[in-house]
């Protein structure tokens, strides 16, 4: 656990970057620092591994004040990922990943084996180990950055806007990868971002900081969206707060109808306005009008219990029928969530 106990950072010119910050980043959880530029989020992060020293107050790592620990020793026990990855250009990828194991005096073979294992873990081809950083794309470099931070298996990981310099598609995949890794590794992660969507997606707890380095609110993402502490937080969360909150509403209890599907070659005859055409092996083909006229129209799918209400609603809005298609792991149709079912679930979510 990382504890901030009334931590202040004041620069010699009088600027206060962080103002009496007190919070805890619990062990095994992702705590996100989010806020506009100038809110002191990066400064707060960098005070944990003493890249910056606090002016007042104390930061404790599992109860031990970090100011008592020699900085290089402290840092070798904390993974650190930065925006541009910061890979060493003169070293091969495998040696980049093995940086901290080398510093800790691991045996060469062991460090190398660990680096290769991590390459695969972060979703890269082990053959990349022999390349140099400039031969990798930005997204690949960032994955290597994560692997390097994990190399000596530190319990704590600090991530300073690690995904903000890559394009949105790569960013989404890196975020998913991090969540997958975290599910396996259970590290204590402090993650800094200016992107509230990223904060809500990744954080177990989100600390919203305001300019001048003061804590505006610390809450889990769901609470943050439903009960913002003040106007600043409300404004920072942006317009789609309600829609985004649906991300945290489960589709588990959503009522599904299984009588709205027809096989390929349906030629009309049922009284329903829309029916879902399903292929022989059970996959959705598209919506067809009840009288059998017209081609299959587009559809959207979600996985009940796995995907959120937001995904189900999105799937419903993609089809002319206004219904969302529920599919199982293999993509086979499990049922259809009608407008009525969605409406009932949304009403329930609004009440909650």
């Amino acid at each position: 656990m990382i504890t901030f106990d009334s931590v202040t950072k004041r620069y010699p010119d009088g600027t206060v970057a962080v103002d009496h910050l007190s919070l805890e980043a619990p062990t095994g959880e992702v705590t996100v620092f989010v806020g506009p530029s100038g809110c002191g989020k990066t400064t707060s992060l960098r005070m944990i591994n003493r890249m910056i020293d606090a002016t007042e107050g104390e930061i404790l790592l599992d109860g031990r004040p970090v100011r008592e620990i020699d900085p290089p020793t402290l840092r070798r026990g904390i993974g650190y990922v930065i925006q541009q990855a910061g890979l060493f250009p003169h070293k091969k990828i495998v040696d980049n990943i093995a940086t901290v194991p080398h510093l800790l005096g691991w045996d060469r073979g062991k460090a190398r084996a660990r680096a290769m294992e991590l390459l695969e873990r972060v979703g890269l081809d082990p053959a990349m180990g022999e390349r140099y950083p400039f031969q990798l794309s930005g997204g690949q470099q960032q994955r290597v950055g994560v692997a390097r931070a994990l190399a000596a298996d530190p319990p704590v990981l600090l991530m300073d806007e690690p995904f903000s310099a890559v394009d949105p598609i790569v960013r989404t995949s890196l975020q998913d990868e991090l969540l997958r890794l975290q599910a396996e590794l259970n590290k204590t992660i402090v993650f800094v971002t200016h992107d509230i969507d990223e904060a809500i997606k990744l954080g177990d707890r989100v600390a919203v900081l305001r300019v001048g380095g003061r804590l505006a609110q610390l809450a889990d993402p769901k609470t943050l969206l439903s009960e913002p502490a003040d106007d600043f937080v409300r404004e920072f969360l942006g317009r789609d707060r309600g829609i985004r909150r649906l991300q945290f509403v489960s589709t588990e209890g959503l009522r599904l109808r299984t009588d709205l599907t027809v096989p390929e070659g349906y030629e009309g005859g049922r009284s329903e306005p829309w029916l879902l055409v399903v292929t022989k092996d059970g996959r959705p083909l598209g919506w067809i009008a009840g009288d059998g006229r017209g081609g299959p129209e587009p559809y959207g799918t979600f996985r009940p219990g796995q995907d959120s209400m937001r995904a189900a609603l999105d799937a419903a809005l993609l089809s002319p029928s206004g219904c969302a298609v529920a599919v199982d792991e293999e993509g086979k149709v499990a049922g259809v969530a009608t407008r009525e079912a969605l409406d009932a679930a949304l009403a329930e979510a609004a009440d909650a």
């Binding site: 591994n49 890249m51 650190y80 910061g86 140099y132 400039f134 031969q135």
Partner: protein
């Protein structure tokens, strides 16, 4: 052409203390000694200033002084002061000439390393000396070598002037040749100096190839 064949074809030019091998050896000695001394002074100083950021003014002053100081004037001054009994009146001006390019380029090389990279290095838990030795130097190496090469070329060229003081080196063929109107010697000596400078260039290119990481020079090896 006749002068060249005359100069290189004369067996008398290939032996004795005034022969080509002896003069070449002197030239190599002066240049190498001056360059090594300059390197021992300027590389550590440049690394230190670049790494700590303290003393940058010294780099600026040295760079400007090097343009302002006439090498020939320095040479004459030191010869007048110290006489010609030793080689130092030649070596000292050569060192003074060689220091600034090495100092400036080493400093700029270390200074110019991406701040994110320094940040990452410290963040990984490298100590100051390790950051310098394991990250900054390898990344700045192309510039450090550039400084050394520029100095080497200048030193080799200027060592020619050393002949004025009556000390040796390939410049003797040129200067003595002029004095005695032996133009074969002038042309032959010039050719030797140019060849020597070329060899030095090639030598540095080879050093660069072998010491700079392919990751820094971005020479992609086809595979």
């Amino acid at each position: 052409m006749n002068w060249l064949t005359g100069f290189f074809g004369d067996p008398a030019n290939w032996s004795g203390p005034g022969g080509i091998p002896a003069r070449l050896l002197e030239h190599v000695e002066f240049s190498a000694l001056a360059l090594v001394l300059a390197m021992l002074l300027a590389v550590p100083l440049g690394l230190l200033i670049g790494h700590t950021g303290r003393g940058a003014l010294l780099v600026v002053v040295s760079a400007n002084l090097s343009r302002a100081l006439p090498t020939l004037g320095l040479l004459v001054m030191f010869v007048l002061l110290l006489g010609t009994a030793s080689i130092w009146p030649v070596i000292i001006p050569l060192v003074l000439l060689a220091v600034p390019p090495i100092l400036v380029n080493t400093y700029e090389g270390v200074r110019g390393v991406d701040p994110e990279l320094r940040d990452a290095a410290y963040g990984m838990g490298l100590r100051g000396g390790q950051v310098l030795g394991r990250v900054l130097v390898p990344v700045a190496l192309p510039l450090i070598l550039l400084g050394l090469r520029l100095s080497a070329i200048q030193v080799v060229a200027t060592t020619t002037v050393a002949a004025y003081t009556g000390l040796g080196g390939l410049g003797r063929f040129v200067i003595d040749g002029f004095a005695t109107k032996d133009y074969a010697s002038v042309v032959g000596g010039s050719v030797l100096i140019v060849l020597f400078a070329l060899v030095v260039q090639i030598g540095f290119t080879l050093v660069q190839r072998t010491t700079v990481s392919p990751g820094v020079s971005q020479r992609v090896r086809s595979r």
